[in-house]
């Protein structure tokens, strides 16, 4: 089947060109050109725009390897990406399952809307709302103290958990949507067939449902992991001083220190690392999918 599609697209390439052209033109202008400029900058000593003399150098890249700080921050960001992705799986997958297989009709539409709602609100507004919830004397603190008979102090603001909460909230809809699509494609009669053969719900999940929805899990994980590793807004606002990650350091180079060449170099190192991780993971994931 894949062979047929490939040969079909080759012969139809000429007629498909007018359809492809706008997208590729846009990608060239909007992504390729700025990125090329950034590659160029990353090999410079100074930003040419500043009017100072500049020269080509590899120093921006060697800085990453000579200073342990960057490596430590990159590892912290990768760990953050992994943790957020896992939380999104644990929270998003069951929700997607219920949406795809349990709910029907109006109630499905309503719950679906609630899942997509975060997409429709401004990211910054979302993060500041969390700040109001998580800080001492904030909504969570007040609410819990109103319910519980004893006094507790909840101040999650400017902590690692706050960063995780904010990021999971921002990215869990991706996992729900990608998993929903693959779960919905699983015919209900497969589940019934498995049950008629004596499989428990857990066995069905392990041997049929998870394997068949693996493409959705992988797509969701990739959509979440990559941007979270480079994220800076949530760590900065919700993490405060503890929220220093690889992404915030890159942001600093661009907006605070004005060391664009170093910022660009750090970005490309991140890009390379992420690509290597995805390449290493792809055979495993493809086999699972």
């Amino acid at each position: 089947m894949a062979g047929q599609v490939a040969s079909g697209s080759r012969s139809g390439l000429r007629s498909a060109l007018p359809l492809l052209l706008p997208a590729y033109l846009w990608l060239t202008v909007a992504i390729f050109l700025p990125l090329s400029a950034m590659v160029f900058f990353s090999f410079m000593t100074e930003l040419p725009l500043s009017g100072k003399a500049w020269a080509f150098t590899l120093e921006n890249y060697t800085t990453f390897f000579s200073q342990g700080l960057y490596w430590t921050l990159l590892l912290a960001s990768l760990r953050l990406g992994l943790e957020v992705t896992l939380w999104c799986v644990f929270i998003g997958y069951p929700a997607a399952y219920v949406l795809a297989k349990v709910l029907k009709g109006r109630s499905r539409e309503a719950i679906f809307l609630l899942v997509i709602l975060p997409f429709w609100s401004n990211g910054l507004v979302r993060i500041f709302s969390w700040a109001m919830v998580l800080r001492e004397g904030g909504i969570l603190d007040t609410a819990l103290n109103a319910v519980l008979p004893f006094k507790i102090n909840i101040d999650l603001m400017y902590s690692y958990p706050a960063v995780i909460i904010g990021l999971v909230h921002s990215y869990v809809p991706y996992m729900v949507l990608t998993c929903y699509l693959t779960l919905q494609a699983i015919d209900d009669s497969l589940i019934e067939a498995g049950r008629s053969l004596g499989a428990s719900r857990l066995q069905m999940l392990r041997w049929v449902i998870i394997p068949l929805s693996m493409p959705g899990l992988v797509a969701g994980a990739a959509l979440i992991f990559v941007p979270v590793v480079g994220s800076f807004m949530e760590p900065r606002i919700l993490g405060g001083r503890t929220g220093t990650f690889y992404g915030t350091v890159i942001e600093d180079q661009f907006v605070a220190v004005f060391n664009w060449p170093l910022g660009a170099a750090l970005s490309f190192i991140l890009l390379a690392v992420v690509l290597v991780i995805l390449a290493l993971a792809s055979p495993v994931l493809r086999r699972a999918a």
């Binding site: 019934e192 067939a193 008629s196 004596g198 499989a199 066995q203 049929v208 068949l212």
Partner: protein
């Protein structure tokens, strides 16, 4: 292996009565067809027996053990679905092995049982294939092998041949029957195809609007239908309506029709007589050899030639009667011809008006 008893089973979905007080005894080792139009409740009944859905009231027993509140995974049944429902992420062998693996059987036992089941459905060499590499008929066989490899107490088939083309369907009917005989498993088969029900099953249950209309061996239902619905749904039938005389009916124009079988009715009540199209003899003359025969006159409005037989549509008193005549090369009647229809009372079934 075990028989299945369904007693007074009812199930409603909202205001809709999907099953209404249905009782059937499925004998151990028998091949039973549940026949009915769509919405008749036949699939609902099968799903109740399988355990996908629980009844509102009534009892289901498999091998004498009450199971109506036992979930499907604990009922030890085998089921074949209309769309086969093979697991696309597994090989054919793994599909067949599934029921044994989830039970935690030893690998060596699983391998030999799977091979035996695949041999039984004549797919012994295709264990390594994926379901999408198989034809419709082969998938059907895999689904059957997967359902029987666990040695279930009952085999449930939900329109299993519905997705196959005609020639393949006939092959599979024979094949299915052979396998069922070979392992001797109680089999309940849902279909809307009356021919399939007639040729394959030991007994047929006809359902309509959630009720069991009639139940019995195919010959009995065909020869002695108890309702107009049973008469017309299983095979073709001419229905004549009138007032009963006790042993037959009198039509509106006064003609008497004698019936040799069927219900015993009080004289004067509304009733019908059913007669199969192939039981009626058609001729141009009125000369008769049998003085007891039922006789009606009419005019041929249409003739359909089908090679080995011809179907005549005969207009009589505003009603069209259907007559099927074997092609013996002698009688060739033309449209528009006046004819005499004759059939014996033994071929006539008296049915209470519904």
């Amino acid at each position: 292996m075990a028989g299945v008893q369904v007693s007074n089973l009812s199930r409603s979905f909202g205001a809709h009565k999907a099953l209404d007080d249905v009782s059937i005894d499925f004998a151990d080792g028998g091949f039973y067809a549940l026949l009915g139009p769509s919405g008749s409740g036949k699939t609902t009944l099968l799903r109740q027996i399988a355990g996908f859905d629980f009844p509102d009231s009534g009892r289901i027993a498999i091998g004498g053990e009450s199971v109506e509140r036992v979930p499907v995974e604990k009922r030890r049944i085998g089921m074949v679905f209309q769309n086969y429902a093979l697991f696309p992420n597994m090989s054919v062998a793994d599909n067949v092995a599934f029921g044994l693996s989830v039970r935690g059987e030893a690998k060596a036992i699983i391998a030999s049982e799977v091979q035996r089941a695949l041999d039984l459905v004549q797919l012994g060499k295709l264990g390594g294939r994926r379901p999408h590499q198989l034809s419709g008929g082969q998938r059907q066989r895999v689904a059957l092998a997967r359902a029987i490899v666990t040695k279930p107490r009952v085999l449930l088939l939900d329109e299993p041949l519905g997705a196959l083309d005609k020639a393949l369907r006939v092959d599979m009917q024979i094949e299915l029957k052979r396998i069922q005989r070979e392992i001797g498993i109680t089999t309940i088969f849902v279909t809307h195809d009356q021919e399939e029900a007639l040729t394959m099953s030991d007994r047929i249950g006809i359902l309509r609007d959630g009720r069991l209309v009639q139940e019995g061996p195919p010959e009995e239902i065909y020869d002695r239908p108890k309702s107009e619905f049973a008469a017309t749904f299983l095979g073709d039938a001419n229905i004549l309506r009138g007032d009963t005389t006790g042993t037959g009916i009198r039509l509106v124009d006064g003609t008497a029709i004698a019936a040799g079988a069927g219900a015993t009715l009080a004289a004067g009540a509304k009733a019908s007589c059913a007669v199969r199209p192939e039981r009626i003899r058609i001729a141009t003359d009125s000369g008769t050899s049998d003085p007891n025969a039922n006789v009606l006159r009419g005019q041929i409005s249409k003739r359909i030639f089908a090679g080995n037989n011809s179907t005549y549509f005969v207009e009589r008193d505003g009603q069209t009667l259907k007559v099927i005549v074997q092609n013996t090369g002698i009688e060739r009647l033309a449209e528009g011809q006046e004819v005499v229809l004759r059939w014996s009372p033994e071929s006539t079934v008296l049915i209470a008006a519904n």
